[in-house]
Amino acid sequence: MKKDIEANFTIENAKSIAGALNKYIKTSDNPVIDLSVVKKIDLSGIQLLIAAHKTGEKLGKPVYFTGNITKNIYDLLNDNGFSLVHLESDEKLFTVRRSSREF
């Protein structure tokens, strides 16, 4: 089961998104969060993605993201030191980490 989340992954919606994600990860066996609908993200949103990943680690079930994210969001993550890391076996699934790009 995939979890769709809100279009604005920003501070205004941070609380509700956090609650929904936490509930979804806890109840899902293979949590996959679809970011296709995300149009806007800020630092609080990025923190939520990292926190979701950590939640999965804590519960022993890896949390992955999926969906085509917009170029704006990709650039915002990249410009601020974050990057999308794809799951080796599946190009569609990725996680968000500190950027590993070489300078």
């Binding site: 998104i17 994600l21 630092l43 979701a52 950590k54 939640t55 030191g81 980490r97 500190r98 300078f103």
Partner: protein, 710 residues
């Protein structure tokens, strides 16, 4: 380096820059929208200005400063690239050159300084930066207005480490930390390392709190205060640490990235004591630290990324400071070539003596031979320069001359990368200038004439350089009127150079224009037509052991081909013996060796022998040079190819390949026909180096004399 050496280095560097200024300007004129080309021109003047000020050439620095201001307006797109701008920048370049050439002549410098203001004012008027009525200088105001800009460019870059931990409530104040980062990003090259270990999992998280902090590396010309200004509204609530990194310390270990331990220590992530004890182990430090839990995985990861960033930054800076090449006085290079020449000769002597020995001695001499040959090739390659720089100089010549003559000419250059000996290149300039002037003046017609003839209004002049064996062929071709055979013939008859009924091939006819005083130009212009050019050109090319040839088709084109030796110092030769004399042929021109029985040839009137299904003309060197002694029954014929002609040379004995150090012939021997130089052999004997074209000509004349019964 003493001050004179610095001064000399400045002069050399500036002359090089000024020479590239011309070609850069012409490129900029061709493509005025390309900001990189505009910047390249700006940088040249900027560098000259800076260096001149550093070495005390204030008059050059002041003048360049004003030129730089004008070019800066072009760079800022407030001034357009125009013909006037190019013209006046070229003139300014000439003015700077005159300053440099005036050197210590104070009187001359004063004169030039008087002209400086006038040139700048005229420049500004020409490009519309000043009205003619305003032609009084107010340098003070102008200079102060530009200073800040200039200082910024000369500022050094520093590497800063910024640790930024926003207050937890930063989101609630409406501040977006990512915008602050974006401001920093605009300041220069950067690395943002977000620290994520304080972000909890969702069950423990307060989503409206900020848990992220950053370690930031920023390479910028900005100051500490500029950086602090970015954080001015969050400074009080956030943790902010800005430290300048000792980048120069990282550079001292050339080529090596900064050590991970040094970075962790510098970041305060590990204690010196812990680091020391861990370094004693023989594992990768990162691994040991993690195993030992001396620093967190995140700290090591961030330090590794920092290491990679610093490595890139230091490499870039090292590239800037390390010279990719060193400047050596050409005299030193000439000395080196002479010494290598001596070594080649000595090696030949050793090799000769070593023939008496067996075993190790022979092996050692063979090794010495290989090293000598490598050394020779390396040294010679150091003297080779691409001809592109010479070609580039002609762009301006063509541009100025065509404007003067009211012609429209496009200069095409091909083979700029072709390399030639430095000496050959230096001596080639004048002949090429003559030939290009001739093409522009006599060759290419005026636009009206060209249109009337059904050609494009714009003429094309093509300069081409290419390798052809051990020679380089340079051609100057124009699509102009071509050579008028009848005019040349009539003029030659009038000048008593040929008989009125003489029958000449095209090649022979064209070669008449190399006779002294020969000019068919109807009128003498400042460019050419005085008849002093072509004979001088031929002499200059011949003095380089080269030769010159003309191809043309009336009404369509004329093409002057110069064939020049790749080098004037050492060649691979082919050594032969006739009687007790030695001769060397350039090996690159030797095609084959065959045997021939004298008895079969001696009664034949024509000097021809059968060779590969055809007849090969040959020159008998014994007869040609009147060498005495007993002839063997079987002669050796060395078959050479020169300028698409095959010819044989009859010799007694073929000795083989020989590294030939060319010594020029001087004194009475200088005018000897058929030899381009001499070389000293291992046995101390002198061998003459055969000039194949020369011998062919000489032999042909002898034959004609014989046929004429003279």
């Amino acid at each position: 380096m003493n001050s004179d050496q610095f001064k000399q280095a400045f002069i050399e560097e500036s002359m090089e820059l000024l020479s590239s200024l011309e070609s850069r300007l012409l490129e900029m004129e061709e493509d005025p929208e390309d900001s990189e080309k505009v910047s390249a021109v700006f940088r040249i003047i900027h560098t000259i200005k800076g260096s001149a000020a550093m070495f005390g050439f204030n008059e050059i620095s002041d003048f360049s400063h004003h030129v730089e201001n004008i070019l800066d307006a072009v760079r800022q797109k407030t001034l357009k690239v125009s013909r006037e701008l190019i013209d006046w920048t070229l003139k300014s370049g000439d003015h700077i050159t005159a300053f440099i050439e005036a050197d210590d002549n104070i009187e001359e410098k004063k004169e030039l300084e008087k002209k400086s203001d006038g040139i700048i004012e005229s420049f500004k008027v020409a490009v519309g930066m000043m009205k003619p009525s305003e032609m009084t200088v107010n340098n003070g105001a102008e200079a102060s207005g530009e200073n800040s800009n200039e200082e910024e460019e000369e500022l050094e870059e520093s590497l800063w480490r910024i640790r930024f931990k926003p207050t937890e409530d930063i989101f609630l104040s409406g501040t977006n930390p990512l915008l602050l980062l974006s401001e920093l990003a605009d300041m220069g090259e950067h690395l943002f390392l977000p620290k994520l270990d304080e972000i909890p999992d969702l069950s423990e998280m307060e989503p409206e709190k900020c848990y992220t902090s950053w370690d930031i590396l920023l390479l910028t010309t900005k100051t500490m205060n500029d950086i602090k200004d970015v954080f001015i509204f969050v400074e009080n609530d956030s943790e902010l640490q800005i430290v300048e990194m000792p980048l120069d310390e990282f550079i001292t270990e050339e080529g090596k990235p900064p050590k991970l331990g040094a970075i962790l220590l510098n970041r305060g992530d590990i204690s010196e004591k812990a680091l020391e004890s861990l370094l004693k182990r023989q594992k990768r430090l990162g691994q040991i630290i993690l195993e030992n839990k001396s620093a967190s995985e995140e700290a090591v990861d961030m330090a590794l990324k920092e290491q990679s960033f610093i490595k890139t930054v230091t490499e870039k800076r090292t590239e800037k400071t390390t010279q990719a090449s060193i400047r050596v006085k050409s005299e030193k290079l000439d000395d080196l070539v002479n010494l290598v020449g001596e070594l080649v000769t000595i090696h030949a002597q050793i090799e000769r003596h070593s023939r008496e020995y067996e075993g190790d001695m022979r092996t050692v001499v063979e090794s010495l031979g290989r090293i000598t040959e490598n050394l020779r090739e390396n040294t010679m390659s150091m003297r080779l320069l691409p001809i592109g720089a010479t070609f580039a100089r002609f762009k301006r010549l063509v541009r100025d001359l065509s404007a003067e003559m009211g012609k429209s000419i496009n200069l095409v250059t091909i083979g700029e990368e072709t390399e030639l000996d430095k000496t050959v290149i230096e001596k080639l300039n004048d002949p090429l200038v003559h030939l290009i002037r001739n093409s522009i003046d006599h060759g290419i017609e005026s636009p009206e004439e060209r249109i009337a003839k059904g050609k494009t209004a714009e003429g094309t002049l093509t300069l081409k350089a290419e390798h052809a064996g051990a020679s380089v062929r340079i051609s100057i071709e124009d699509d102009g009127a071509g050579l008028n055979k009848k005019k040349i013939y009539d003029k030659a008859v009038a000048n008593h150079l040929i008989e009125p009924d003489a029958v000449l091939s095209d090649e022979e006819l064209y070669s008449l224009i190399f006779q002294p005083g020969f000019s068919t130009a109807a009128k003498i212009t400042s460019v050419s037509g005085r008849g002093v050019g072509m004979d001088v050109v031929r002499r200059q090319i011949e003095s380089l052991n080269g030769y010159i040839k003309i191809e043309s088709e009336e009404g369509k084109y004329s093409k002057i081909i110069l064939s020049l030796p790749l080098t004037l110092a050492i060649i691979d030769g082919f050594l032969v013996k006739v009687g007790d004399r030695y001769f060397v042929f350039p090996l690159s021109e030797v095609e084959a060796c065959i045997e021939s029985r004298y008895i079969e040839r001696k009664n034949s009137r024509k000097k021809m022998i059968p060779y590969r299904d055809s007849l090969l003309p040959y020159v008998d060197l014994r007869e040609e040079f009147d060498i005495g002694g007993q002839r063997d029954e079987i002669d050796q014929i060395v078959v050479v190819r020169s300028e698409n002609k095959q010819i044989g040379f009859c010799v007694d004995k073929v000795i083989g390949e020989h590294q030939t150090v060319i010594k020029s012939l001087s004194g009475v021997l200088k005018k000897a026909v058929g030899f381009s130089g001499a070389t000293i052999l291992g046995n101390g004997r002198v061998a003459l180096i055969v000039d194949i074209e020369g011998i062919i000509q000489h032999s042909r004349l002898n034959e004609e004399k014989c046929v004429d019964g003279k």
